[in-house]
């Protein structure tokens, strides 16, 4: 494989990682509060707000049920508004973030709901404010599940980022389609797939190791 091709692959890898990192960060910034709210606004819960809970839940479901490739096209006007263009790596980060946010929200919601109700009760009995309960009880106790969930999100985003390649989003998917498929260069396609596999494996291992580290529920002697 020529040095030029290797350079292309390296650039595409960097683009993919950049897109995924930004989408994961923004998605977490938006999805974390949303997920916490979804998990704590049901009947009899800390921030009870049934109507808002239901509307947000429906919004999340709607976004989650739209196939990603359709979402990318459907929100092009919004993408233009935010990124100023609908083509390229910067533009691709908009639909990636839009897709990541509800995904992360559901993951956070599930993780927070798994926290023992007895801990919430105990904290209230100790005079904790609802925000203290979120910051000092729910999030720390849900941390192992959240770390695993975010790992899952990042892995999914790598897959999504390959799809935005189809609409000129840059990154590994774009490279694979333009060189591997359209120019009949199977070695590029193979290289792209291998890089993706290595990326996913590495990220998954890091995520699992991190989750183990923050999980204090396992007895260690």
């Amino acid at each position: 494989m020529s040095p030029e091709l290797l350079g292309l692959i390296a650039d595409a890898t960097a683009e993919t990682l950049f897109m995924v990192a930004v989408a994961a960060l923004l998605g977490t910034a938006l999805g974390l509060p949303l997920g916490v709210f979804l998990a704590t606004s049901g009947r009899g819960e800390l921030f009870e707000a049934l109507a808002v809970n239901r509307v947000l839940g429906m919004l999340v479901n709607a976004t989650r049920s739209t196939p990603f490739i359709i979402l990318v096209v459907a929100i092009i006007p919004f993408t233009r508004l935010i990124a100023g263009t609908s083509i390229g790596t910067n533009a691709a980060m908009v639909p990636l973030t839009v897709a990541a946010t509800p995904f992360i929200a559901r993951i956070i919601e599930t993780a927070v709901r798994e926290v023992d109700q007895g801990l919430i009760e105990a904290s209230r009995a100790m005079g904790a404010t609802p925000l203290q309960i979120v910051a000092k009880v729910l999030l720390p106790e849900a941390r192992p599940a959240i770390v695993l969930g975010l790992t899952l999100t990042v892995v999914s985003l790598i897959g999504y980022s390959a799809m935005v390649g189809a609409v000129g989003g840059g990154g590994l998917g774009d490279l694979g389609i333009r060189y591997g498929y359209q120019r009949f260069m199977p070695e590029v396609m193979a290289a792209v797939v291998i890089v993706l596999i290595v990326l996913v494996q590495t990220l998954q291992s890091i995520g699992e190791a991190l989750a183990r580290r923050v999980n204090k529920r396992i007895r260690r002697v």
């Binding site: 801990l119 009995a125 005079g127 203290q132 106790e141």
Partner: protein, 367 residues
């Protein structure tokens, strides 16, 4: 036919101090409205009680009797439907927001399942209520250090709850509950998940804490053993009502309701063994025996009642079952005896029992 003879004096009720009660319930009811197919539930039904400062007050009842609700209205996790709950003269139901949280910091709670934060070390778990209250780091260090000493877990300060035994976890729970120097400690079935040995050590710790700090303790439990070991007064709750209340010794000596009797018999052996109960008949048979229950209470609890019966009245006494125990510092016991079923013998035996300020009754007759 009931020869129930209740005589004898029990220890005086605790001296009621002139201070206002630490906790007072005034006709408190709590009903949960019907929802869907579930009918309305009355968890508390006109409960009135007063807990004196520094006392250990036990509430016993079966599951679903309303114990938990009774505890939860004290720290305002539930609001009474009617009536008032006062903690040191503050009406809990009237508080909201910051005032309610401030009150809760003066009320520690320990739980059946400990409810420790798994992501925090022993030290940080105990520090938690202090953090919530906004205490400074130096204050927290000093206070948590004292508490670790008190509960004997200084060597575990850096451990996580998953690395502790049940008894150690409850010690952390107790230290945490005491962190903000509360005036009241609520114990929600705190020993129900522990083995008997550990239960005793935890109750011993609670007693020591009570003596050391004067904290008022309200504990709910379904185990009469717990009441017997630690409480000064007890309320028996059933169907949301307090059906019996008094000094623990009195309730043990003279349980008035069948529920109280069954709780008492679970630890005192005052129940009639099953095989014997099956043979009991209400009428004497010729040549048969009468079964007497003698309750040993009061100053004469240790009177040599069996030798008195056999020696001074010449009655042949057979011991069927018995148990002698201590409640608080006072001896207490139950004896099931069989004597010849002739009316004059039974009457003489009961008269002697009464003469020694004990109570006795005829349970029935066996062949």
């Amino acid at each position: 036919m009931n020869f129930l003879a209740r005589t004898g004096s029990e220890p005086a009720p605790p001296v009621l101090s002139s201070e206002p009660p630490a906790i007072r319930f005034e006709s408190v009811s709590k009903t949960y409205p019907a929802r869907g197919r579930d009918a309305q539930v009355t968890a508390l039904d006109l409960v009135s009680l007063a807990v004196a400062p520094g006392e250990i007050y036990g509430v016993i009842g079966r599951s679903g009797a309303g114990k938990s609700t009774l505890l939860r209205v004290i720290n305002g996790l539930e609001k009474p439907s009617t009536g008032r709950v006062l903690v040191e003269d503050t009406e809990v139901g009237a508080l909201d927001g910051a005032d309610l949280r401030a009150l809760r910091r003066r009320i520690g709670v320990i739980f059946q399942h400990f409810n420790l934060l798994s992501s925090r070390t022993v030290f940080d778990n105990i520090a938690f209520p202090l953090e919530l209250a906004g205490a400074r780091r130096a204050t927290i260090e000093a206070r948590v250090g004292q508490l670790l000493d008190l509960v004997g877990l200084d060597d575990k300060r850096g451990r996580y709850p998953a690395e502790l035994s049940g008894g150690q976890k409850q010690r952390v729970g107790i230290a945490r509950a005491l962190a903000t120097e509360p005036r009241v400690l609520l114990s929600d079935e705190a020993t129900s998940a522990l083995d008997p040995e550990t239960t005793r050590s935890i109750l011993e710790l609670l007693r020591r804490v009570n003596a050391l700090t004067g904290v008022t303790i309200v504990l709910i439990t379904h185990e009469m053993q717990v009441i017997k070991e630690i409480a000064g007064r007890v309320a028996v709750i059933e169907g949301g009502r307090i059906i019996e209340e008094g000094a623990v010794y009195d309730v043990f000596a003279r349980p008035e309701t069948s529920t109280a009797r069954s709780f008492v018999s679970s630890v005192t052996g005052s129940g009639v063994p099953e095989d014997l109960a099956a043979q009991l008949s209400p009428q004497p048979t010729k040549g048969g025996r009468a079964v007497l229950r003698i309750v040993l209470t009061g100053p004469q609890a240790t009177a040599p009642i069996i030798s008195i019966l056999s020696r001074s009245a010449g009655i042949d006494v057979q011991i069927l079952s018995g148990q002698v125990d201590r409640i608080g510092d006072a001896p207490f016991g139950n004896l099931l005896l069989a004597v010849p079923a002739r009316a004059e013998v039974v009457a003489a035996a009961l008269a002697l029992v009464r003469e020694h300020e004990l109570s006795g009754e005829v349970l029935g007759y066996v062949a």
